[in-house]
């Protein structure tokens, strides 16, 4: 299972991948995570790849993505073709227009929701994680919550958990 998180640097793209990868390990699976470096990690089209498998992972480079998550238009344009034929596209409808791109796609207004519900845009990535997991049931929710608590600053942990749970309830 290959998952690619994409967006602008600063939207929590890499954090999303790290949280998801660690949650998969807590769930007894193997996971590796890689991320883009240099200028793209600080702006532009940033990406974070997570490979999750029950068996040992020999393939270090994802050869196509089962799930693509897009948080910015440039990142969507750059990476949309990495989505496998039956892959799932998740995107923030406030920030991305998919136009004629054909895929099994799911969108939520994550950034707007984060601002309305929690007063800050920065919870959008965690709302999206909840949404992805409610659609795919890839990893059990307790493992993701444990992973969130490990990786976000402790004073924001509860808000992030609430953001994750909000995402889980969305359709």
């Amino acid at each position: 299972m290959n998952i690619r998180f994409t967006g602008f640097g600063g939207q929590g793209i890499i954090l999303s991948g790290v949280i998801f990868g660690w949650a998969a390990i807590l769930n007894g699976k193997n996971a590796i995570q890689t991320q883009s470096y240099g200028s793209s990690a600080r702006g532009g089209a940033c990406k974070c790849d997570v490979i999750i498998q029950d068996s040992y992972i020999y393939e270090l480079v994802p050869t196509g993505n089962d799930i693509l998550v897009a948080f910015s238009q440039p990142a969507f344009e750059k990476y949309k073709n990495s989505l496998l034929k039956n892959g799932l596209l998740f995107y923030d409808s406030d920030l991305v227009r998919t136009d004629s791109f054909e895929s099994n796609s799911f969108s939520i207004s994550a950034t707007d929701l984060a601002f309305k519900e929690f007063g800050q845009k920065l919870f959008a990535n965690i709302i999206m994680l909840g949404f992805i997991n409610s659609k795919t049931k890839l990893i059990n929710a307790e493992a993701i919550e444990e992973s969130i608590r490990q990786y976000v600053p402790s004073k924001f942990a509860d808000t992030n958990i609430n953001a994750f749970r909000l995402g889980m309830k969305l359709n």
Partner: protein, 383 residues
Amino acid sequence: MTRENYLSKLKNRTLFIQGDEAAAYGALYAGCNFFAGYPITPASEVAELMAKELPKVDGYYIQMEDEIASIGAMIGAAWSGGKSMTATSGPGFSLMQENIGYACMTETPCVIVNVQRSGPSTGQATLAAQGDMLQARWGTHGDHEMIALSPSSVQESFDLMLEAFNLSEKYRNPVIFLLDGEVGHIREKVVFPDINEVNIHPRNISKEKVDVFGGMRIPPMIEFGQGHRIHVTGSTHKSNGMRDVVSQEAHDKLIRRLNDKIESNRDEISKYELHFTDDMEYLVVSYGASARPSMGAVLKLREKGYKVGFLRLITIWPFSSTIVKELGKKVKNIFVPEMNLGQISREIERFVSCAVHPVSKIGGVAHTINEIVYEIESEVKKY
């Protein structure tokens, strides 16, 4: 906090960290207490973690003005009783070459991490390569032997770092830790051991005034500041350390001993992993990041009915020539996936009479399993 307290908190913990960070934790377990370095992608995470953690174990982190100064400081620290390390990537590794020779000549135990990126020159700064395999062996001038290790996973980056420090102490030689940007930067699971179950090779220190540059194949060291006067020089020297730069015999005796202490222990230092070599007709040899998709390709080719074996080199230098020679007699072809244009492939050719095919990929992206399967299958189908 003492080192014991610090390490007891890590005991049996599982972390999701990068290969660079795992190498740094491995160094802390090995007793490293001095790091001098200059940041460079993709090796900066080693320095970053050492800067954060070394003070907690009463160690010293110092950011130097460049890589030449970094390795110089590290060698000095080793002679003052420290277990020292530096970390860099290609451009910095090139700058360090002169002092790597100085560390060989002065028999200084230390570890130099090279997280390889694409070169030559500044190349692709953020992307991975395995292009410094021969530079690690022959980068510094003159006759010398070298020890170099290359991990294939984040867990191995931790485990092998312990080995790197042990080998450097045992043989009084610098050890090159050949990570690549791929293994250095992926995050994977690492489980930390109990420090009480970790084997640490202690430095052989003499309290008495003895010859520290001869008299036996691997002489003991003396620590600076412990009351003995000692001369440490990169010039040819006698067993007491004093220069003798004109005598043919003195140079011959010293350099042959320095080479012999590694060469005569080649098989003991050499570590590798074998899979499916009993019934093989073809052999794949790989190491570091390339070994991952290589093993995946071997499994896939086996499913397709090809009798393919796999040799993963863990020790790169001294080269595992004994096993390569032995396996080379059993097969028609050897395939060598590596992220360079055939550096280790060329070394293998020296020891076998069968055909050796480099499966090269450069440009900063690791091989995929299918790329390796395709190259091997299309060659094998010719027969």
